[in-house]
Symmetry: D2
Subunit: 124 residues, 4 copies
Amino acid sequence: MRDLDDARDALRQFVTERDWEQFHAPKNLAMALCVEAAELMEHFQWLTEAESAALPPDTLAEVADEIADVQLYLIGLADRLGVDILDAMSRKMEKNARKYPVASARGNARKYDRLPGYDGTPTS
Amino acid sequence: MRDLDDARDALRQFVTERDWEQFHAPKNLAMALCVEAAELMEHFQWLTEAESAALPPDTLAEVADEIADVQLYLIGLADRLGVDILDAMSRKMEKNARKYPVASARGNARKYDRLPGYDGTPTS
Amino acid sequence: MRDLDDARDALRQFVTERDWEQFHAPKNLAMALCVEAAELMEHFQWLTEAESAALPPDTLAEVADEIADVQLYLIGLADRLGVDILDAMSRKMEKNARKYPVASARGNARKYDRLPGYDGTPTS
Amino acid sequence: MRDLDDARDALRQFVTERDWEQFHAPKNLAMALCVEAAELMEHFQWLTEAESAALPPDTLAEVADEIADVQLYLIGLADRLGVDILDAMSRKMEKNARKYPVASARGNARKYDRLPGYDGTPTS
């Protein structure tokens, strides 16, 4: 598997072979994505921030599996909706650069609409 | 942005310029990922499955933004943990092929441990 | 267990006996709550809306367990933060009544800021 | 509002007045619950555990609103499914007491199936 297109093709084949398209409405895939994201997070819920950065190998392997699950549902959802993930990321990073200017965002984690200088424009 | 490595590099630069590494413990990134997955899902919560497959253009654009947010946090989290996403997906798809054999999984959405023929082996 | 106060007291005792207060920072309880909410939702992800309203008894029993988990973490989190849940609900329902006036909200599920007549006031 | 039954009755009236039953399939309510749990968690994602236990008053007020939202959807979902929340909590706390015996669970946050002495019985 060399890239996201490869993964999408492998996923399409996996789903088709099992006749699972019937379950994969975008609504349902968005739910499954959210469930997998929560399973990924579950590994971290009782850890300190420092512990979360130094996982034992067996936990890291489980976490890698959950990362894969999130990625697979995200690819499946984007594919069903006709969204190009790389393109969507490019646009979003440009928006984020406008929402979080280096000068005001540097070193703080406040949401963009609480940054000094924010002019009230909703930028989604 | 041509691939996941490009996105990871752009994200690293974005975070470094804003001095945000201090907030980006894996625990916190896993939380942010989950929050974004929920924001993505929120667009679908009152839609029928059919409606979710035929989004109006403005909703689809918002959904594409949320897909990008999920992807960006997933890349950031995997990067912090030293997980290769493509490699993790390859392994997980092999596991899934074993967990959901075509013969028993075809046309049903039951979890693998409820499929006919499941032998009780936990495969994560 | 007759009411939320009973549940809170039983939960406090359970946590104290196990010396678990050390893990129960509000941040961590909010994560655990979210994980349980996702586990609850997982039962519904491949069901149609109609199927979700007619669960078989064994699924319903599992769902009831997940509802209890969400409720328990919500009580624990509110207790740690000093929030009175009944009081918070009363206030929120008053806000909701203002955000979703019967005349404009009747029969549609749009978010309040997309309802006809919305004047732009953020009411959280 | 004196108890959960009061809240349920007020919620029923709110939903009926707006003709929203049509949107409130258990599947959709479970999604909305999960979205609200994530919104609640979002307030904590960049905070340290210590900061999460000492919220400024305006954040605490917002968090109380989100707690109310989670509680309201949980009541609505349980009501649609015919689940008695207090009863479900009583049963679940008894299960939890068996899953997490004081002797082995004391002072550690490992999941029950990783506790010393666990005999492999799945207890859900």
